[in-house]
């Protein structure tokens, strides 16, 4: 017996080697491209910029007191607000879209989903420039409206917060629709039948059964939209015309224009911390919604 069986220590070593072989590449990648840069960012926040750029390695908490300045907090707040409005609008638009797609006959669902992701096949910058052509004071929308005599002077559509929200919404709506669709499609249709059978009108069934059971999907969609919206700097630059500065623009400018890496790192770290908090809240809420115990 003992001859055919591997001794325990060798077995354990074999298992460890096996685990390293499968986890190793992923762990290595994360270490080199995430943990090390993150540690660098964290390290930089403690130093300050030299007179000609570069970094002076004298530890202080100056960067953090500087962030507490109303100007920077204001930018962070504006960013959170814009990303939040974008996320809310994406949810309000994305839920009915995902719901209707899930009701389509099976073959048409695939077509609809392909249409939803189709814009991703075109370059992101080109799509954003297309919005400039649409919203511009000499753009298609304004010319159509003046041509029809609905307005006398062109509306100021471009270079507003609304344009930024619209651009972000346009860019990230599919990221809301896809997880929502998968949650709605997975929902057992018999649960809705059971609700009707127990006397619930369709609207009641939606509020009491469909919506609560698809909330985890909605939360995932919200994170998928909020996270890239918060950090985006291309759309505020192109559609906001530099008038709407979001925290992404601020960070980029610190690194590339002001050459103040330590302060840029500090801002980046704060955004990362915000997002980590958000992800934790989402994970907690999702667990709360789906786990078996009832704490109410």
């Amino acid at each position: 017996m003992s001859a055919t069986r591997t001794p325990p220590r060798a077995a354990r070593r074999e298992r460890l080697v096996g685990r390293l072989a499968t986890l190793g590449p992923g762990l290595g990648y994360l270490t080199v491209f995430m943990l090390v840069p993150l540690a660098l960012v964290l390290g930089y926040t403690l130093f300050h910029r030299g007179r000609f750029g570069g970094i002076v390695y004298e530890a202080s908490a100056d960067n953090y007191t500087r962030v507490a300045d109303g100007l920077y907090l204001g930018v962070i707040w504006t960013s959170v607000k814009i990303a939040g409005i974008t996320t809310l609008l994406a949810l309000l638009l994305g839920y009915p879209t995902a719901y209707l797609i899930a009701q389509l006959p099976r073959a048409w669902r695939t077509v609809a989903l392909v249409l939803v992701v189709l814009p991703f096949w075109t370059n992101f910058l080109i799509r954003t420039y297309a919005w400039i052509i649409l919203l511009n004071s000499e753009g298609i929308i304004n010319r159509a409206l003046t041509g029809l005599g609905i307005i006398q002077r062109p509306l100021e559509l471009l270079y507003t917060q609304g344009a930024v929200v619209g651009g972000l919404l346009y860019a990230y709506l599919p990221l809301m629709v896809l997880p929502l669709y998968s949650a709605i499609e997975r929902l057992d249709p018999q649960l809705r039948e059971a609700s009707a059978n127990l006397g619930a009108r369709p609207a009641r069934t939606f509020w009491s059964v469909t919506l609560p059971l698809t909330l985890p999907g909605a939360l995932t969609g919200c994170v998928f939209v909020f996270v890239p919206s918060l950090g985006n700097f291309v759309i505020p630059e192109l559609l906001g015309g530099g008038r709407t500065v979001m925290v992404g623009n601020l960070i980029r400018d610190q690194f590339l224009k002001a050459r103040d890496w330590p302060f840029g790192s500090t801002l980046a770290l704060i955004v990362i911390a915000l997002l980590v908090l958000l992800l934790m809240a989402q994970a907690w809420a999702a667990r709360r919604l789906t786990d078996g115990t009832d704490r109410a």
Partner: protein
């Protein structure tokens, strides 16, 4: 008690080329335990979904208490369904699942709590009111599904394959409990099942369906003893079926001989099938047909013996009480009384 509660008349439903229901007519009486029995694809589930309001027939009528049921939307019907998969709401605990239907009636909170507590006591799950469905065993989930349906005090309770997801022991328990409950609450039960034992043991009356048509509606005993056609004879219980030509003194089977059975004068000269139940078949040393024992299966109380008879393509089955003296390979003779057999037309 014998008032018809539900009248189903000439109901047909097609899905593309498939005829799920074809001119189905039947009545379900007030207070009875009715079973819709048939193999999968016979249309029984479609009929159940029509009663619940999830399907609509192409033609025909359904009334409940003499009022048109088809005109009523599903959420207004006094009909509750226990789903085969139970369809419990996973995000609500047991008490909330059960209260859901009562809340839709806008009853006072105190009354809802009272009725939920009462039904929990009836099904024996009082301690589990705050559990979520995924913390329950299969049998417990089934009880919750049942409680959720009966707490509404419907005129008609539909049960879709109620015992199919349970293991054998829990099944027997639930079977008894369903019957007890039905007596206790006095609601009319309609159970859909493909399991003939389940239908026979639970129901007062059984409708046998096949390919969208009603084959026979009867109480379990007549259904077993006097099947209306070949399908029912074969589907309900074990049966020996032999095809031949009807002669003056029995069924003539080429290469075998004349098999004893009652012969109606009108049937003489036609092709027919003889049906005789295994427990009516005798094994002995004289009379009847000669054969060789092919298989002996001991069930405890009874033994089933399969006998190969020259000229028949299927062995004849005989059920004898207790253990038997015959063994594999023994020569034996197979016989039965003419009055225990019956003739069925070949349609």
């Amino acid at each position: 008690m014998t008032e018809p509660l539900v009248r189903i008349e000439a109901v047909s439903r097609r899905f593309g080329e498939i005829r799920a229901l074809e001119q189905v007519s039947l009545e379900i009486r007030q207070g009875e335990f009715f079973a819709l029995l048939g193999p999968s694809g016979c249309g029984k589930t479609t009929l159940l979904r029509i009663l619940a309001g999830f399907e609509h027939p192409d033609s025909g009528s359904v009334t409940l208490d003499d009022a048109d049921l088809l005109a009523v939307p599903p959420h207004r019907r006094p009909v509750n369904l226990m789903f085969q998969s139970y369809a419990l709401f996973p995000h609500m605990n047991v008490a909330k699942n059960i209260a859901y239907g009562l809340e839709r009636e806008h009853l006072p909170k105190a009354e809802i709590r009272e009725r939920v507590d009462a039904v929990l006591a009836t099904i024996g799950l009082t301690g589990l009111a705050r559990r979520r469905p995924n913390q329950l065993s299969g049998g417990q989930r089934q009880r919750v599904a049942l409680a959720r349906a009966i707490v509404k005090r419907p005129r008609l309770l539909l049960l879709d394959e109620p015992l199919s997801a349970l293991d054998k022991k829990v099944r027997a328990e639930m079977q008894l409990e369903l019957k007890r409950l039905q007596h206790e609450v006095g609601i009319t039960f309609v159970v859909v099942t493909h399991d003939q034992e389940e239908a026979m043991s639970l129901a007062d009356r059984v409708a046998v369906l096949s390919e969208g048509r009603v084959r026979q509606i009867d109480a379990p005993v007549p259904l077993y003893e006097r099947p209306a056609d070949l399908f029912v004879a074969d589907f309900i219980g074990a049966n020996n079926l032999v095809t031949g030509m009807v002669g003056a003194d029995g069924l003539q089977v080429p290469g075998v001989g004349v098999l004893p059975c009652p012969v109606p004068a009108a049937a003489v000269g036609r092709a027919a099938t003889l049906a005789v139940r295994p427990e009516r078949v005798r094994l002995g040393t004289e009379g009847g047909l000669a054969g060789v024992v092919r298989d002996v299966t001991f069930f405890g109380g009874t033994t089933r013996v399969a006998v190969d008879v020259t000229g028949l393509d299927r062995p004849l089955l005989a059920t004898v009480a207790g253990a038997t003296a015959v063994a594999l390979g023994d020569k034996t003779r197979v016989d039965w009384s003419a009055s225990d057999a019956m003739l069925l037309g070949n349609d």
